[in-house]
């Protein structure tokens, strides 16, 4: 299985990533994409920016491990993960996951699995920087742990 992981400060081009992935996806009939964006009004005080940090080296290895686990569960042709770090404004892209597979069921399941484990296993930390100047490190969500736990 083709697998390409990037941690970067810059944005990404969905069309370019889709074209590149299909180069490596052979005769795959299904492509599922997840793109996460920074929400401005997820909190009471509006967000000025979301700051993300990570653990270089360890992050890439953990995502690789998560992708390998997914490839053991489903017949995947190609996986692409891009996760941004640094300071991101509301509306900006945070994360992109692309999964190509022969059929849609595997592609959907693997994309959701990758997102669930990216949220709960990969060493990223988010800090909310609010318009009033206050800052807060985001708490881990029990709902994310529950989402990952359902894969058993």
């Amino acid at each position: 299985m083709y697998c390409h992981i990037s941690i970067q400060t810059g944005g990404f081009d969905l069309a370019a990533e889709e074209a590149a992935l299909r180069q490596h996806a052979g005769d795959a009939g299904a492509l599922v994409v997840f793109q996460g964006m920074v929400r401005a009004h997820d909190t009471a005080t509006p967000l000025a920016a979301l700051f993300l940090e990570h653990y270089p080296g360890v992050t890439e290895a953990e995502i690789q491990r998560i992708a390998s686990n997914a490839a053991q569960r489903w017949p995947l042709a190609a996986v692409r993960v891009i996760h941004r770090v640094g300071s991101l404004a509301p509306g900006e892209q945070i994360v992109l996951v692309l999964v190509a597979s022969g059929h849609r069921k595997a592609a959907f399941a693997a994309a959701e699995y990758l997102m669930d484990y990216l949220k709960t296993e990969a060493p990223f930390w988010k800090r909310e920087d609010f318009v009033d100047g206050s800052r807060r490190w985001v708490d881990a969500k029990a709902s994310d742990d529950a989402a990952a736990a359902r894969w058993g």
Binding site: E53, V58, L118, K119, P123, W125, R127, W137, A140
Partner: protein
């Protein structure tokens, strides 16, 4: 001999830095956590059970306890919030 301890997320605020050199006589991840918790209430709270997600020794994620050799890089990870 020292070890190099890296802090992430909210633990940076507790430590007041992103990393420090710590004298190290030997021990495992539990020894290190006990030593840091003994620094005071803010440390004890920040590193309480449930506040620490995982330790990473020389870029290897530790599940359970693991030996920390002299010279090691040790990352202390609060619960992760990526994606």
């Amino acid at each position: 001999m020292n070890i190099r301890v890296l802090y992430f997320g909210r633990l940076k605020d507790t430590a007041g830095c992103s990393e420090e050199q710590l004298p190290w006589a030997g021990g495992n991840t539990a020894t290190l956590l006990a030593q840091l918790r003994a620094r005071g209430d803010s440390w004890a709270q920040a590193l309480a059970e449930g506040q620490v997600f995982r330790l990473v020794v020389n870029q290897q994620v530790v599940r359970g306890e693991a030996d920390i050799p002299p010279g090691a890089e040790v990352g202390i990870l609060p619960p992760v919030t990526g994606g």
